[in-house]
């Protein structure tokens, strides 16, 4: 039973299919906002299957083992992190006190994998892209952590399941986390490398950044990682900031979960449409000058509230 849950639902296969479906939603909304038609529902699946069938060309000077290992490494780390996030109801597959930190770090591992993969590709574009990935990590990581941990602070626990349990018991407390939600959403744009923060993969500047030399099934898994990262990130947001409708049982609960994810993905697509890409130095300045102080404010608000409410 547990094997079924880990492998199929809500495990790897469900994540892959759901991730690709969410990529379709993202691309379709992006296209409709630009007055275009957009791809059909099976486009991400077709892309994945096509990439699996393509030839892989690995540069001669690249480190073969690292090159081939990184896609699988990043894929497994994001898939693992989903085990700790509650989908419907307030229980995730596995949980323990401190798993919000584990999930956040498991989400950092793909970024590291992109860096290593790009660096060991030895192509100039890939190196610039991979260095940009790490630089971007230094900018958005702190606001993202602070936003999520502020919500955890109010719930007085480090376990995501317990956080959702706390908020479902005290329904209106989630309103105190609105600032944190906004901050985390902007930082999530940075983690998922979407415009305005798609600097590591800037197509018009460095071809494809860290993915320049990747092709064939390695690229397929990298793209799948990005999709699953989007789903996992959005699920984390939904679990920590939008914890309502959790008492409905499996089918209705799943529907509520689907609606929450759709809402967050649509917000991400809207952000993709509205802005131009920032430069890396502008992004760091923005994150440290504006985003981190606002996250600090959220932390303060939650601390004060905690002091008041503990009574």
């Amino acid at each position: 039973m547990v094997l079924f849950q880990i492998l199929v639902f809500p495990g790897v296969i469900f994540l892959a299919v759901f991730g690709m479906f969410m990529e379709f939603v993202d691309r379709k909304v992006y296209a409709r906002l630009q007055n275009r038609v957009g791809p059909p529902w099976f486009q991400p699946f077709a892309d994945f299957i096509k990439l699996l069938g393509k030839e892989e060309l690995i540069p001669e000077q690249a480190n073969f083992r690292m090159f081939k290992l990184m896609p699988l490494f990043s894929f497994t780390s994001v898939a693992t992190s989903f085990l700790y996030i509650p989908v419907w109801g307030t229980h995730s597959l596995l949980s323990f006190n401190g798993d919000v930190i584990v999930v956040l770090y498991l989400l950092t591992l793909p970024t590291l994998a992109f860096f290593i993969g790009g660096w060991y590709s030895t192509s100039l574009y890939a190196r610039i892209g991979s260095v940009r990935t790490l630089t971007q990590l230094f900018a958005y990581e702190v606001p993202l952590f602070m936003g999520i941990l502020a919500s955890a602070l109010l719930a007085d626990t480090w376990s995501i399941s317990e956080i959702t349990l706390f908020y479902s018991r005290h329904p209106w407390y989630w309103a105190s986390n609105i600032i944190g939600f906004a901050v985390s959403l902007v930082a999530l744009l940075g983690k998922l490398e979407k415009v305005p923060f798609d600097i590591p993969e800037a197509e018009t500047e460095i071809v494809a950044g860290a993915f320049t030399e990747y092709g064939g099934r390695h690229l397929a898994f990298f793209r799948l990682t990005l999709d699953i990262e989007m789903v996992v990130g959005c699920s984390l947001m939904a679990a920590v900031f939008l914890p309502f409708g959790l008492g409905f049982g499996m089918v209705w609960g799943f529907l509520v979960y689907l609606l929450k994810i759709l809402f967050i993905v649509m917000l991400l697509s809207l952000a993709r449409t509205l802005f131009a890409r920032l430069r890396i130095d502008q992004m760091i300045v923005f994150c440290w000058k504006y985003l981190a102080p606002v996250a600090l404010i959220q932390l303060l608000v939650n601390l004060l509230l905690k002091g008041v409410l503990v009574q």
């Binding site: 409709r32 906002l33 007055n35 275009r36 957009g38 802005f275």
Partner: protein, 118 residues
């Protein structure tokens, strides 16, 4: 300075029909005077070869088939669809149609031969 200045336009477009034309399911007709495929009328040709002289790409070749009857070989791969031959012809034997889907699988199909069979 406002972030997201394009928001209003973007949200309006979300609820409108997309502007994409569903070609090839929906085919739009080209405007009058569109310079598409060349059409040759062998009955009007007198064989002066002014079109051959003025063609920038050497796409049209007029040759004699019988007494006072001429045929034209138009190489669609060379034609640049400028319609200079239409202007140069004094008998109005050439005209441009609206056809623009001129792809072919064999190079030989791109040479259009028009002759008077009567």
């Amino acid at each position: 300075m406002r972030p997201g200045r394009i928001l209003r336009l973007v949200l309006q477009s979300f609820f409108k029909k997309p502007v994409t034309r569903n070609y090839p399911v929906v085919k739009i007709e080209m405007p009058q005077g569109f310079r598409g495929k060349l059409k040759f009328d062998p009955k009007k040709c007198v064989g002066c070869k002014m079109c051959m002289r003025d063609c920038p790409a050497g796409a049209i070749t007029i040759s004699k088939t019988a007494d006072n009857k001429f045929m034209a070989e138009i190489d669609l791969a060379r034609c640049i669809f400028c319609a200079q031959c239409v202007d140069s012809c004094m008998r109005k034997a050439l005209e441009m149609t609206k056809e623009f889907e001129l792809g072919a699988l064999k190079k030989l199909d791109l040479t259009v031969v028009t002759k008077d069979d009567s």
